[in-house]
């Protein structure tokens, strides 16, 4: 399998920028196994990312990849998907990119229920800029901008996504590679907005400031904190504190998908306006004389 995913990697661009012990590679590999498993077409599969460690994945994937600007991956992806509904569009984002600067786009993408799959890599820190506080950092945790411990409460991103209207919401961790692979697969297959929170360790910027000395220790911590939804309902609020609830947390297969709803409405208008030619603007421009 390891060799097979290399078909979808720009191996000439490796080694990647991620630190040893980083969880991003685990999720990216899980994603590529899904690409192979589902037989996604290379030219019709587009990964849109923002800025940050997780978004750098776009640099290594041998698919259509759009490395956009900080926080705006979902907005760019909305444009791609609306322009080419036949594409499978996946968004790679992080907790800073997707939940802080891009938080508004996240809730509106959820609300529209547009058929995108958003994989949000949550490592509770800004890794690329040097370990600053992120909106998913737990109270009491330390960062370079929370030297005396974080005092703001964190987001529960899955509850946020569900409340905002996402029709598929799931969570997994880097310690559960098979689970995350299944969640990504189900998310891509789902018609509607799929939000997948992947809890990943950042030993370099998060672990060493928060008494989790080794990458293994961090992964282990994620594993022991994980509970399934079935287990979670049996726990009290106190017992649930600090736990990571994993699996498919919300699924609504009947929620209308935005692009399809738009297309149906537009078709009705087009018919009313008389037969109109579907515009195909996707051919290339003629190339003039080159330098």
């Amino acid at each position: 399998m390891a060799l097979e995913i290399e078909r979808f990697l720009h191996t000439e661009r490796l080694p990647h920028i991620w630190c040893p012990g980083c969880g991003l590679g685990i999720i990216t590999a899980a994603f590529l196994r899904v690409v192979i498993d589902l037989g996604l077409e290379r030219d019709k599969t587009v990964v849109v990312s923002g800025i940050g460690c997780s978004s750098r994945a776009a640099n290594y994937l041998d698919l259509g990849t759009v490395h956009s600007i900080h926080g705006r991956a979902l907005a760019v992806a909305t444009g791609v998907k609306m322009a080419r509904p036949d594409f499978t569009v996946i968004v790679f984002t992080g907790d800073g990119d997707g939940a802080a600067i891009g938080g508004n786009h996240l809730i509106h993408a959820c609300r529209r229920n547009i058929d995108l799959t958003c994989i949000l890599f949550n490592n509770s820190t800004y890794g690329m800029t040097g370990g600053q506080t992120s909106p998913t950092m737990a109270v009491g945790d330390r960062s370079t901008t929370a030297r005396y411990g974080q005092v703001e409460p964190p987001f529960d991103l899955c509850r946020l996504a569900e409340a905002a209207g996402a029709s598929f919401v799931a969570r997994g961790t880097a310690a559960q590679a098979r689970l995350i692979e299944r969640l990504i697969k189900e998310g891509i297959q789902h018609q509607g907005f799929s939000f997948i929170e992947a809890v990943v360790p950042c030993p370099t910027e998060y672990g060493r400031r928060n008494a989790l000395k080794s990458p293994l220790e961090m992964l282990d911590n994620e594993r022991t904190r994980s509970v399934t939804q079935a287990q979670a309902v049996k726990l009290t609020q106190e017992e649930l504190a600090g736990k990571i609830v994993t699996g498919v947390l919300h699924l609504d297969e009947d929620a209308p998908e935005f692009q399809q709803a738009y297309a149906a409405s537009a078709r009705a208008q087009a018919e009313r306006a008389g037969a109109r030619v579907q515009i195909d603007m996707t051919q290339k421009l003629p190339v003039g004389e080159q330098k």
């Binding site: 990849t65 759009v66 907005a75 909305t78 609306m82 080419r84 603007m281 996707t282």
Partner: protein, 392 residues
């Protein structure tokens, strides 16, 4: 006439002329040039553009999305542009400010795009229902870093139509975002408009064809051929400095070459990009250089000046950037004064001064009260200038 794609215009096309709002004419120009994707966010005084697009695009197989803010709007347009669609958004000052970072992204990834800014008085919320030209330098230098910019300025309803078309053409030919500046007056006024009128105002660029129909020009020389998502390709696109494969580079030589190429693809084609009209050419001691709604006052002055015996030329600029250096320097060599009335505190006058002051005296006239210059105000200034000159 069957080529008029927009339903809005087609239903009236039997008439020789119709009364139409500037913002609506802008939408029609976009549709007639083949724009099929619009994402926007409402803002006074530009909202009528998106309203017209919301009405039209679904009927012709295009896409209209109202996004959650202006940042999302321009980003969605960029996404669509990467798939080869012709995309446009429209806004006003506060929204244009929000778009600046993404505008830089569109420039660096060479995504064709049209951004219309119907200017209102700023900064901040300012005066939403009064005209201004306060965003001229923002349109040039709003996003960070050195970058090319193509900026057009509309002065009437016919301009809103045809300069939007020109913007679509330039955006594709040069693979870069093009900004069309209008203002509250031009955007929201209604004016007689006819296909005949579109060609009435002279543009210097000879080969401009405003026949409605999808504009699919050839790429300009020096422009790299694009990689379009889904067209048998799966390119990598990034806002980082990149080499011709699309992948990031930190190499000093490659970085230097990359940015210079990006800059020069516009700078080297001023002749094609600079659209202007000149009245009373070679007959003035004073030349009024004007654009947008101020050019209307300047044109009125051109007619009145003849009557009042004042030696005035009028240079009406449709392209603000790249700077029309050649024509301004030509004028500067022969007139005693260049007078630049603007609805700002002299933003463009500074640019003209830099390139013309070695030959002539450049005088900026700024107005920021939300009203337009009257012809009398300009005539009085001209009389003062020419009179003062005689007494020296």
């Amino acid at each position: 006439m069957e080529q008029w794609h927009s339903h809005l215009l087609r239903e009236r096309v039997d008439q020789s002329s119709l009364l139409i709002q500037g913002n609506r004419a802008c939408a029609l120009g976009a549709l007639d040039a083949g724009v099929t994707f619009f994402a926007g966010y409402p803002i006074t005084p530009s909202s009528e553009i998106m309203e017209a697009m919301a009405e039209e695009l679904p009927r012709i197989g295009g896409v209209f999305v109202q996004m959650e803010d202006e940042i999302a709007s321009i980003c969605a347009c960029i996404g669509a542009s990467l798939t080869g669609k012709l995309a446009m958004t429209a806004t006003s000052g506060p929204g244009f400010s929000l778009m600046q970072e993404a505008l830089g992204y569109a420039i660096i990834i060479e995504a064709p795009l049209v951004v219309v800014n119907v200017m209102r008085v700023g900064p901040s919320t300012g005066r939403p229902t009064a005209p201004s030209q306060g965003d001229v330098m923002q349109a040039r230098w709003g996003t960070h870093g050195d970058h090319p910019a193509i900026v057009l300025a509309a002065s009437n309803v016919a301009d809103m139509y045809r300069l939007t078309m020109a913007a679509v053409r330039f955006a594709q030919r040069f693979r870069t975002p093009v900004t069309v500046l209008a203002d509250q007056l031009v955007g929201q006024m209604r004016e007689s408009f006819s296909p005949e009128l579109v060609g009435r105002y002279r543009l210097t660029s000879g080969d401009f064809d405003f026949t409605p129909g999808y504009i699919r020009p050839e790429l300009a020389p020096e422009v790299r051929p694009p990689h379009i998502l889904g067209l048998d390709e799966h390119p990598h696109v990034t806002g980082l400095f990149h080499d011709e494969t699309g992948f990031p580079t930190n190499d000093p030589d490659e970085s230097n070459e990359f940015l210079r190429e990006l800059y020069n693809k516009v700078a080297h084609h001023r002749e094609e990009l600079c659209l202007y009209d000149i009245k009373n050419e070679g007959k003035g001691r004073v030349c009024i250089v004007a654009y947008g709604s101020c050019a209307r006052t300047a044109r009125a002055v051109w007619r009145l000046a003849e009557y009042e015996g004042l030696p005035v030329e009028v240079l009406h600029l449709y392209t603000l950037f790249p700077l029309p250096v050649e024509i301004i320097q030509q004028v500067a060599r022969r007139v005693e004064f260049i007078l630049i009335p603007e609805l700002n505190l002299g933003q463009y006058a500074h640019e003209v001064r830099k390139m013309a002051e070695q030959w002539t005296t450049v005088i900026g006239m700024g107005k920021i009260d939300g009203t337009l210059f009257t012809p009398r105000e300009l005539l009085d200034r001209i009389a003062e200038l020419t009179g003062k000159y005689e007494s020296v």
